[in-house]
Amino acid sequence: MNYVIRRILMLLLTMLIVSFLTFLAFELVSGDVAQTKLGTEGTPEQVAALRHELGLDQPFLLRYGQWLGGFFTGDLGVSYYNPQPMWELIGPKLGVTLILAAISFLLITLISIPLGLLSYRLAGSPLDGLRTAFNQLCMAVPPFFIGILFSWFFGITLKLFIPEGFPSSIRANPGEAMTQLFFAAVCLSIPRIAMTVRMMRSTVIGEMQKAYVRTAISRGNDRRGVLLRHVLKNSLTGTVTFLAQTLAELIGGSIVVEQVFGIPGLGRFLVAEIRALDYPVVQTIVVILAFWVVLAGTVADLINQRIDPRLRLGGAK
């Protein structure tokens, strides 16, 4: 079977499992929603009527099917506390988070690939130990702590932005909003850049020891040329996979960093809704984020398959 089709079928299967697990988890915990909504005041008849109205008297699998169907047709269900259509609640916040993730991803890609190639050249030099230690240090600082440091230094001391003063929407004050999003993106990127550099470095070192590199050099090519023309290309598949994981981790990281800067994104909304026990909203956000992660992995596999003919022919791993 065609690889692309097979990969997409696998994607759909994983999405199905992920959404089912989420639905099941919330089903187990949210208890009787009708009872919760009406409180102790509700008579059994009222509870039964509300259960019917909410469709809770239907079998579990049927409700899962309806919910999943609604998910793809834009009917995401209704929040316990907010009568607005769920999409209107979530849409703008998803947009903000996507901008944040996009800036971070750009920073990570543009900085870590050249740094990864450069750091190979330090291998074996006395500075290498120092570089490794610095790399570990960058991975050790939690993004939200960098965020707090930034708020203090760039926000309170240098007054480049107002800490926790994110404008009500990006359109209201684009300059201030973008400044804050930029600093938040830097916080998110620092540990991830360190991880990517570390990963690239070990891949490049591994590639440089291979026979084709020795051959290329013995034929009179210079190291730099071999590095850029051959090794970079061969290290690319691993890097693409890693960057896809990065895209996934950025979503997790943005949950915390949005809180630091008070950015009205999906992550911050999720935390607020978890604390308010608003299960329909939490469930929807969780599934959106998980789909995002699975999708990133699939896209990475498809890209890898395009750039590496070995994968296309189904030969070497």
Partner: protein, 270 residues
């Protein structure tokens, strides 16, 4: 070849981690000031010899609170990693050694679970069971199982047909004995660095969750919820946030160096 047991990273990491862990363990029994004693006359004092890290908005000694909160963070991270590594190794051993349909089913479930970013999965579990330090351990413990299971499965699968395992099997060793006595010690090279990475992820995850206010909740102190507290006083007492955050970073940095050192040691043996 002679095995070089120590290197710079390992030594530096052990010293740094040792000092911090000793300080945090000590904090369970003794702190210079009571971590909860309030002093209205000493609000937001900058760091000094009396109060090493200064005081917070209630005049509580931050250094004492960091010692105690650090202890909570440390205990949670260790408990989390114990649960994750033990169950993950168990799953990995069974699936890797026996293979077959159980392997396929569990690995599909594993794939689905890794589709959730770890913090998201932890938040999901917390939203189901509620906050508090024991629930954080439960949530993070579950979250860490899949990654350990994957790593250990590869190890056990690769050892399955190695000569010394085959000969052990021929000599009549039971499955359990083969897995625990013959295979497990040979996975340590992978397990130990994985443990250091897992520990660091656990510290960072606990800190993030408590910072968000859905992890360890007051009156329990942890480095994460102290940072939450500290952020609201950033203008008046920046040292509070800076010193607390630096403690988290140093702890993770120290253990990271140990992991780096362990890997380097193994590479040199090869």
């Amino acid at each position: 070849m002679k095995k070089k047991n120590w290197n710079g990273f390992l030594i530096a990491g052990c010293v740094l981690t040792g000092v911090l862990v000793a300080l945090m363990l000590l904090g369970k029994f003794w702190t210079p000031w009571s971590p909860t004693a309030m002093d209205a006359k000493a609000m937001y004092q900058p760091p000094s010899l009396t109060h090493l890290f200064g005081t917070d908005k209630f005049g509580r000694d931050i250094f004492s609170r960091v010692m105690q909160g650090g202890g909570t963070t440390l205990t949670i991270a260790l408990a989390t990693i114990a649960i994750g590594a033990a169950l993950g190794t168990l799953v990995g051993a069974v699936t890797g050694y026996f293979g077959g349909i159980v392997d396929d089913a569990l690995m599909r479930l594993n794939d689905a679970l890794t589709a959730f970013p770890s913090i998201l999965l932890a938040l999901l579990i917390i939203s189901l069971v509620g906050p508090g330090k024991y629930n954080v351990v439960l949530a993070l413990g579950i979250v860490f199982i899949p990654s350990f299971a994957r790593v250990m499965r590869t190890q056990f699968a690769s050892l399955r047909d190695v000569n010394y395992i085959i000969s052990a099997r021929l000599m009549g060793a039971g499955q359990l004995r083969i897995m625990t006595v013959h295979m497990l010690p040979n996975t340590m090279r992978t397990l130990l660095p994985a443990l250091t990475i897992g520990f660091n992820n656990a510290v960072l995850a606990e800190a993030s969750m408590s910072y968000l206010g859905i992890g360890v909740t007051p009156p329990d102190a942890s480095l994460g919820n102290m940072l939450r507290d500290a952020q609201s006083a950033l203008g008046r007492a920046p040292w509070y946030a800076i010193l607390t955050g630096v403690m988290i970073a140093l702890l993770v940095f120290g253990v990271g160096l140990i992991g780096e050192g362990l890997q380097k040691r193994d590479q040199e043996v090869d």
